[in-house]
Structure formats: structure tokens, C-alpha cells
């Protein structure tokens, strides 16, 4: 093996090594993780009246800090039915807020919002009041909160769970999936 052939061999290696020159970790990383940071429910009395709008925000999404307290109290009146709407936003970048609700609506047959009322008797969120996907199963982006005329006053909560079905089919949507995108609990009361 001549000296020149060693040089050639080495230069081939150096060439390969040069491809690796782009290993500089000083370039900043862009965090583009999509997540839901804000959950807002809007409850409008069917017979008219001021809507209740309450938001639970968790600016760090799945980060270690707990979500903020909800922005407004949810005080329900006996005998009133409320038209409900739910909105999911990604506010990680305040200048480019993303509406995740639209994405959920687009993939309606892979999603379902569950509303679980705790501690409030006579308050229900009927499946029948919800919007449905292409298979007729409830989605829950639109819903109703029905407060019986005889509902006892007291305080409790409404738990909101957004289930994402992708490995097991959603079917009739009666069972939550094992992929939860949102799980927050709003406190609520009946006057």
C-alpha cells in the first residue's frame, strides 16, 4: 500500500466525516407539539338569557404545572335547559392560536366528548342532545345540559373527557377509549 493510497483512503473517510459536520446542537429547537391548552364550555339557556362561558386553561398542556382554575362559575337554574358548545384551543403560541375543535369535528368518527355530572341531582347531559358522526354515534361538541325543575340546589361538578379512538373502533361511542386527549372537571352548582 503506497502512501498515496493511504491518503486516498483517508480522504474518503474524511469525506464521510464531513457529512456529519451538521451535528451542531447550538441551533435552537422549535417545539411544535400540538396539544390542547384551553377548554371552554358555553351554556346558553334555551329560553333566552345570558350565556355562561367558562374556560379551564393549562398553558403548559401536558406539562407538570396543574391547569388554572376555571374562569367563571357555572351556576345553573332549576327547570332550565342549556344549549352547550365546547371549544378546544391550542394557545401555546399566542400569535397563532389553533382551533382543535375543527380537527375533532373533521375526525368526528374517531372522537367523543363525555360529560359526567357528579354531585348534582337532576342535572343530565343526554346523549340524544349531542351532534352525531357519520355512523350516528354521539360526538358531543354540541350538547344540552338539562336541569330538572325539581333539581336540588347544591354544588358538584361536570367532568369533560375527550376520547380519541384510533386502535379500537368508536362503535356507538358508549365506551371511552384508552386515549384521552382532554380530562378536566368544571365545578358547577344549582341555585
Amino acid at each position: 500500500m503506497t502512501a498515496s493510497s493511504i491518503v486516498r483512503a483517508l480522504s474518503a473517510i474524511i469525506l464521510v466525516a464531513a457529512f456529519s459536520a451538521c451535528d451542531d446542537p447550538t441551533d435552537p429547537v422549535a417545539n411544535e407539539q400540538e396539544l390542547i391548552t384551553d377548554v371552554t364550555i358555553t351554556l346558553t339557556p334555551v329560553g333566552g338569557g345570558a350565556a355562561i362561558v367558562s374556560t379551564i386553561a393549562d398553558p403548559d398542556g401536558a406539562g407538570p404545572n396543574p391547569p388554572n382554575a376555571q374562569t367563571a362559575a357555572i351556576a345553573l337554574e332549576p327547570g332550565v335547559t342549556y344549549d352547550g358548545e365546547i371549544e378546544f384551543l391550542d394557545r401555546q403560541n399566542p400569535s397563532a392560536v389553533e382551533d382543535i375543535t375543527a380537527e375533532v369535528a373533521e375526525e368526528a368518527d374517531e372522537h367523543r366528548v363525555f360529560y359526567t355530572v357528579n354531585g348534582l341531582t337532576g342535572v343530565t347531559v343526554p346523549d340524544a342532545s349531542m351532534d352525531t358522526d357519520s355512523n350516528g354515534a354521539p360526538v358531543g361538541l354540541i350538547f344540552q345540559v338539562v336541569v330538572d325543575a325539581g333539581a336540588a340546589s347544591g354544588s358538584g361538578s361536570i367532568r369533560v373527557v375527550l376520547s380519541h379512538y384510533d386502535d379500537a373502533p368508536k362503535g356507538n361511542g358508549s365506551v371511552p377509549s384508552d386515549e384521552t386527549d382532554v380530562d378536566v372537571t368544571f365545578t358547577a352548582s344549582v341555585n
Partner: protein, 781 residues
């Protein structure tokens, strides 16, 4: 240019060989035998050994590299008498089936004579002179496990267990320690992937592995400060130096996950290239494709994988020494079991209760999945440095690209990886193996590494970093007759810079930290008569905290656990004591080892208050330090019961304890034992060395688990039976073919291993029928 031209030539030759090899070769053709005479203890070549071919009454001498060539053999079976000064003469029987294979003939010291072992039969792993507890998987062992992951190949070795994510990801655990505490040396180069992750398996093409040495306990002096738990030394075959073409094609089929895999290799020992002169070269391509694995009762959805690997080696031997250049590429796509990929803690409980969703078998790989490539270029040279000894220098560049795709949250952007990491590593190591000074033989060396980690995904996993390490080491051994003493020390410095990452929730500052310390080891091996020896080692080793232990922050999908790093973690230190009793007799080979590894400042995940987020509650763990002690017993051996009947056994007991709280450590392997019976059947005209092997594996329940976390729930014990039929070779129309048929988990037992990462949700895979076919090329070619 040079490399591309060579590649082209090799590929051209390869295609021609494949075409020609389709023509069967006549049966009685003369054949050549190539071999290498080595020191059975050190593996070093024995130059000028005399090889006498008894039937042909011919003599050849081994060259400087211990290699020899016997040409024009007309007998099917030949006897070789191998002699070298200072070694006991050995008689070896070799058949024509070994043509095209480099037959390695280890010689032992006259004083420590072992009975001759036949080539091709499982060779004894018992070496009476080594103080530390080691095991070796010979080429014959590895051929029998071809087509599996590296981890699976190591499963039967005592003291080694496997962290498993189905059949596609298997991570070796040595004496209860894994990931960043184990160093994988691939062809003399530290494998640098993202080895800290338990679902990040070693990126090794098993088809390219010739031999594996397992060093249990710290190997820090020679292999780096992080070799705290052990070392896996993976040795591919060397560049060929015999003239002429040779090669092999391998095909495997697995019934369980309907995997098929294959490999084609071609080598030439003396290509006359322009400018370079005579070189030896080898190319290999291999591929594996599998679909969903199946437990006894159901399919494991999305557990298939696709792997495609390439390897090229060129080497030249000259009077000044030798030079070898390798390139290898490992490329895999792995599906992760969907049912274990849960959201928050409630989801996990629901997934555990519901059990698996029943799905049809499929080869499709969907999210969650991993895409990993590992490219490596390696240049290795040995230079004879006259009276100083031999200088070995290795440079390597590795690029590890890892992409992990999530099926959660991000609704529209699942085609983009959730996490992406590019790890660039350059390593240079020089070792001087000095000439013996009296009884003293040894190696001194210098090792440098530069590493850069780039984050490319959508989300934060670990920060970007730059790492430099530098080390000086010395390892010496003296054979004093009544004992062999060994000792060594290594000083290592690790400089680590972490780059800023700020986000609504994550805050990693720019930070530089330096760790340095000394690792040292001492060993003694004392022969007790001709057939017994006792060895003991003790050593001090250390490990700097890894970037993930200091800065990881986020949900670990698949386990739904939230992991938080601690930037203030200090070094881990261990004090290891290990004693091994060995026996190497006429009919019994066995070793028994006991050890105690005390780790102060052991870094582990400690449960803490749950993390609440908009997605619900996550059980949370924080990296913390404690004092841990791992003790254990290991036994292995083989007994020739009768002519043609061989018994093999192995067993391992292990106890890991948090010394501060006196509670069991998480993630420690369960006690296990294996027994095998091998019937060697008589040869026939069409078959050579047929055998039947029955194996039983028994694993005790793992009830030594820490309390307070469901991840550590105890698992039941289980027993598995394996059955294997095979032969060294078959003669099919005058062409040599190696065929093996194996039934793993013969009775389709449903079980869950404690180290299976899917154990909370599903069983481990059930029965697997494996067919292996290998066709060597080149015999009489």
C-alpha cells in the same frame, strides 16, 4: 471514489456468484480447509503453529496471523493434529462441511490441558484462567439463533435477561442493570445510539455477528466509565484473507409473527485492486420483515417490524500490520403494541381491565412506531511497533437517527415524528499491546469521543447537547504459574454541554458540567489442580448522570408515566466483588459465580405526587439517587452423560435492594433456570451431525417488587419447553445446506415475563416455529 468503485466491484462479483451458485456442485470434489490457530484464553493468534493433516500426511504452517490453508482434500472427513510451542497438542476432526468456513482452533497451555472439543459442537465457555465472569456465544451458537434480535440471541446466557416490547424490541439486561449502564462494543467500537431509553434496542445486524462475549460486572477499565453493569462484545467476522470467493445465503421463517428474514454475504480474500494492491473484502445485505406477534390467545396489534441492513468490509494485511475499513447501515421500522400506548392514568387502568382488542393479523405498521437508522464507518489498524508491541488504532463515526411517531393528541400531524433525535458520534481509540515484560502482559490506551445530539421532532424529549470524553487506561495481566493476576485503571473525563430550551412548561438553561474520576479493577485466578480454578475480581467504577436523567421532562407514552429529571444528580459509584469457581474436566464443564455490586448514588425513578394536566392525571416519577445493592448467583455448565447425550444447564438468582429503605429495587429480573438435553444422532450419507435438543426454561414469580406503583406489580412464574431439530449440514444433491427447525414455547403457554413492558396489558408471544436454512457458497466453487 475508491469506496464506490470497490463497492461496485464487490456487488458485481456478488451477483455473478449468486448466478453461478445456482448450479449444484458435484459431490466428490476436492475441497480446501481454512483455519486459524488461536490461544484459547486470549484469542490471540498463534503464529507458526504446525497443522498436520493425518489422512493426507501433509503439514502446513500457520502464518503470523495464525491462519492456515489445507488445499486439495479428497476425503469427506479429515483429522488435524495441531501443535505449537508451549501449547498442548490438539486433535481436531473436520468434515467437508466446514469448507468455506474459517475453522477456529483454540490451543490451551500445556499446564491447563482440556480435552479436545470438536468443531461445530457447542464449545465450552469455561476458561480456567480468566478472573472475571464471562460467557461466549460461539459462531455455532449464534447461527442457531439467527434471525432474532440481538437481545433474543442472548436470552439463554446466565445472568443476562431481556427488557422486551414484544418480539421487535429486546434490550439486554446484565445482572439487573441495563441501558446506559451496559456498553455494547460492536467490532471494537462503542455503539452509540440513544441507549438510555429502555425501548431503544441496540442497532445491531445479527446476521453480521460472528461471536459475542458477555462480560458480567463492571468492564469500566477497558470499555468506558458507563460499563458499570457489564459489556457485550460483538465481533463480526474479520475481513477474509484467503484467496477466492466464498459466501453464504441464509433464510429464516418464523411462524408466530410470520417473519421471514434473509441475508446474503459474499467475500473474497485477495482482490487485486488498482493502487491498493491485494485486499480482502466482504459485502452483506440482510432483511427482516414481520407482522403482528401472537400470544397463546390473541394477536398483538401493530407489533411488526421491517429491517434492512448493509455491511461492507475491506481489509489489507501488509508487513507493517493491517488496515480494515467497514461501513454498516442498520435501518428498521418498528411498530409498538397499540393497546399499551395509553393516554392518562385512567386510560391505563381501563386498558388493563379491558384486555386486548381482538384484531386480525397484519404486516402493516401504524403509529405508534419507531424509525431508526444507524450508519457507522470504522477504520481499524494494527501496526507492529517493533519491540514496543502492537498498536491498534480505531476511528469510528456513527450517526444514529431515531424518529418516534405517536398516535396521541396531535390530530392532523401524525405523519410527523413526535420525537426526533440525531446523535453524531466520533470516537478514536489507540491501544498499545506491549511486549511481555517478564510475566507481565498488557494494554495501555487512550480514548476520545465527541458527540452531538440534535432534536428534530415536534416535542421536547431531551435537550440538545454536546459531549466530549477523554480517557487513559492501563490493563495488565501476569501469569505467575500458581495464579494469574490482573489489574487495571482508567481515568476518564466527561465534558457535557446542554443547550437552552425554554417553553411554557420546560426550562432547560445553557449549562456545562464536567465529571471525572478513576475506575480500577483487580483480579486473581488460582488453578486448583488440573481441572478446577477459582477466580475473583473486585473493582471500583463510576458513572456520570446521563442527559435524560438530568433533564427529561414529559409523559412517557406507553407507560403513561410522567418522568422528571434532576439537574443536580451526582455521579454513581460502585464497588463490585465477584468470585467464580470453574471446572473443566473430561465430561463436565461448569462455572459457578457469586457477586455483590454495591452502587452508591444509584440513579432511579422515584414515585412522586401525580402530575395534573389538561389531559388528566399522570402518575409521576422523578430521577433520584439512593444506595443500592445487587447480589446474585449464577451457574452454567454442560455434562456429557453418555456418548451422544449431552446435558446443559444454567441458572441465575438475583436480589436488588434499595439499601436506604431496605425495599426491593424496581425492574430486577426474576430468578430463572434452564435445562437442556441434546441427543447427537449418528451421521448418514446425507446428513452430518444431526441432533435433537429439548430445552426447559423455568422462571420463578417475581414478588420482590417495590410498593406503591402499579408498574411494579408482581408477575407469576412460568415454564416453557423448546424443541429443536437440526444438523450441522445436509447434503442435498451434492450441495451443502444447513437446516434447523425449532419450536419455541412448544405448548403455547400463556405467560408474562416481569421485564416485558407489555406485561400490564397482554401476554408474551406464544408458540413459534422457526425454520433456518443456510447455504454456504464457495465450497468447490
Amino acid at each position: 471514489m475508491m469506496l464506490t468503485r470497490l463497492t461496485f466491484r464487490l456487488l458485481q462479483a456478488f451477483v455473478i456468484t449468486l448466478l453461478v451458485s445456482a448450479v449444484p456442485v458435484a459431490a466428490q470434489q476436492p475441497w480446501s480447509l481454512t483455519g486459524r490457530v488461536v490461544d484459547g484464553t486470549t484469542g490471540a493468534p498463534i503464529p507458526a503453529a504446525r497443522v498436520h493433516w493425518v489422512e493426507g500426511d501433509r503439514d502446513v504452517l500457520a502464518n503470523d496471523d495464525g491462519r492456515f490453508l489445507v488445499v486439495d482434500i479428497h476425503h469427506h472427513r479429515v483429522t488435524l493434529l495441531v501443535e505449537a510451542l508451549g501449547y498442548a497438542a490438539q486433535t481436531w476432526e473436520v468434515s467437508a462441511d466446514m469448507a468455506g468456513i474459517l475453522v477456529e482452533i483454540p490451543l490451551t497451555d500445556e499446564a491447563l490441558r482440556l480435552e479436545g472439543i470438536e468443531v461445530g459442537v457447542r464449545q465450552s465457555a469455561v476458561d480456567l484462567r480468566v478472573p472475571q465472569s464471562t460467557s461466549r456465544l460461539t459462531p455455532a451458537d449464534i447461527v442457531r439463533e439467527r434471525g432474532q434480535t440481538l437481545g433474543e440471541t442472548l436470552r439463554g446466557v446466565e445472568g443476562v435477561s431481556i427488557i422486551q416490547y414484544g418480539p421487535s424490541i429486546a434490550k439486554p439486561v446484565v445482572r439487573g442493570l441495563h441501558s446506559q449502564r451496559i456498553v455494547v462494543m460492536n467490532d471494537g467500537v462503542r455503539q452509540e445510539g440513544q441507549q438510555w431509553g429502555s425501548e431503544h434496542a441496540p442497532e445491531i445486524d445479527v446476521f453480521d455477528v460472528n461471536e459475542i462475549q458477555i462480560i458480567r460486572g463492571p468492564g469500566s477499565v477497558l470499555y468506558g466509565s458507563d460499563a458499570l453493569g457489564g459489556v457485550l462484545r460483538i465481533e463480526p467476522a474479520e475481513a477474509p484473507s484467503e484467496s477466492g470467493f466464498a459466501g453464504e445465503t441464509v433464510f429464516n421463517a418464523f411462524s408466530n409473527n410470520r417473519q421471514y428474514s434473509g441475508s446474503a454475504m459474499l467475500e473474497h480474500g485477495s482482490l487485486d485492486l488498482p493502487l491498493l494492491g491485494m485486499v480482502g473484502g466482504r459485502v452483506r445485505a440482510s432483511a427482516r420483515k414481520s407482522g403482528d406477534a401472537k400470544t397463546a390467545d390473541y394477536n398483538l396489534t401493530n407489533t411488526g417490524f421491517n429491517e434492512f441492513n448493509l455491511g461492507m468490509t475491506v481489509g489489507a494485511t501488509r508487513d507493517w500490520g493491517d488496515l480494515e475499513v467497514d461501513y454498516s447501515r442498520f435501518d428498521t421500522q418498528i411498530g409498538l403494541f397499540k393497546g399499551a400506548h395509553v393516554g392518562n392514568f385512567d386510560d391505563l387502568l381501563r386498558a388493563m381491565e379491558q384486555g386486548p382488542t381482538l384484531t386480525d393479523f397484519a404486516y402493516t405498521i401504524e403509529n405508534p412506531r419507531q424509525e431508526v437508522t444507524h450508519d457507522a464507518v470504522r477504520v481499524n489498524s494494527h501496526i507492529h511497533a517493533g519491540g514496543a508491541g502492537t498498536l491498534e488504532t480505531t476511528y469510528a463515526f456513527q450517526l444514529n437517527r431515531r424518529r418516534e411517531f405517536d398516535s396521541h393528541g396531535p390530530l392532523a400531524a401524525q405523519a410527523r415524528p413526535a420525537f426526533g433525535l440525531d446523535l453524531h458520534t466520533h470516537t478514536v481509540e489507540s491501544r498499545l499491546q506491549h511486549q511481555p515484560i517478564g510475566a507481565l502482559e498488557g494494554t495501555m490506551g487512550l480514548s476520545v469521543m465527541r458527540q452531538g445530539n440534535i432534536s428534530k421532532g415536534k416535542a421536547f424529549l431531551i435537550p440538545q447537547y454536546r459531549l466530549y470524553t477523554g480517557a487513559l487506561f492501563l490493563s495488565e495481566e501476569a501469569d505467575l504459574g500458581w495464579a494469574t493476576l490482573s489489574g487495571g485503571a482508567r481515568y476518564e473525563l466527561r465534558w457535557q454541554r446542554v443547550y437552552e430550551f425554554t417553553d411554557a412548561s420546560i426550562d432547560v438553561p445553557d449549562e456545562t458540567k464536567t465529571y471525572d474520576d478513576v475506575a480500577a479493577a483487580f483480579g486473581i485466578s488460582v488453578p486448583l489442580g488440573d481441572f478446577w480454578s477459582i477466580g475473583a475480581t473486585t473493582g471500583r467504577a463510576w458513572r456520570a448522570p446521563n442527559v435524560n436523567e438530568r433533564y427529561s421532562q414529559g409523559v412517557h407514552h406507553g407507560t403513561a408515566q410522567y418522568e422528571l429529571g434532576d439537574p443536580t444528580l451526582a455521579k454513581e459509584r460502585t464497588w463490585n466483588v465477584d468470585a467464580t469457581l470453574r471446572h473443566s474436566g473430561d465430561r463436565v464443564n461448569a462455572q459457578l459465580a457469586a457477586y455483590r455490586n454495591a452502587i452508591s448514588g444509584f440513579i432511579y425513578l422515584e414515585p412522586r405526587a401525580p402530575v395534573l394536566s389538561i389531559r388528566g392525571a399522570y402518575p409521576a416519577f422523578e430521577y433520584a439517587q439512593t444506595d443500592a445493592v445487587v447480589t446474585g448467583l449464577e451457574v452454567s455448565g454442560e455434562v456429557n452423560l453418555l456418548a451422544g447425550l449431552e446435558l446443559t444447564f444454567s441458572g441465575a438468582l438475583l436480589r436488588g435492594t434499595d439499601d436506604v429503605t431496605d425495599t426491593p429495587l424496581y425492574d430486577m429480573p426474576a430468578d430463572r433456570g434452564t435445562v437442556g438435553l441434546r441427543f447427537n444422532l449418528p451421521d448418514a450419507s446425507w446428513v452430518s451431525r444431526p441432533f435433537v435438543n429439548v430445552g426447559l426454561t423455568a422462571v420463578r414469580q417475581q414478588d420482590r417488587v417495590p410498593e406503591g406503583t402499579i408498574y411494579a406489580l408482581p408477575t407469576d412464574g412460568y415454564q416453557l419447553v423448546d424443541l429443536e431439530f437440526g444438523a450441522q449440514s445436509f447434503d442435498i444433491n451434492g450441495r451443502r445446506v444447513d437446516i434447523g427447525l425449532e419450536m419455541k414455547n412448544l405448548f403455547d403457554t400463556a405467560y408474562r415475563d416481569y421485564l416485558s413492558r407489555y406485561k400490564l396489558f397482554v401476554d408474551d408471544p406464544g408458540r413459534d416455529i422457526v425454520l433456518r436454512v443456510r447455504v454456504p457458497l464457495g465450497a468447490g466453487f
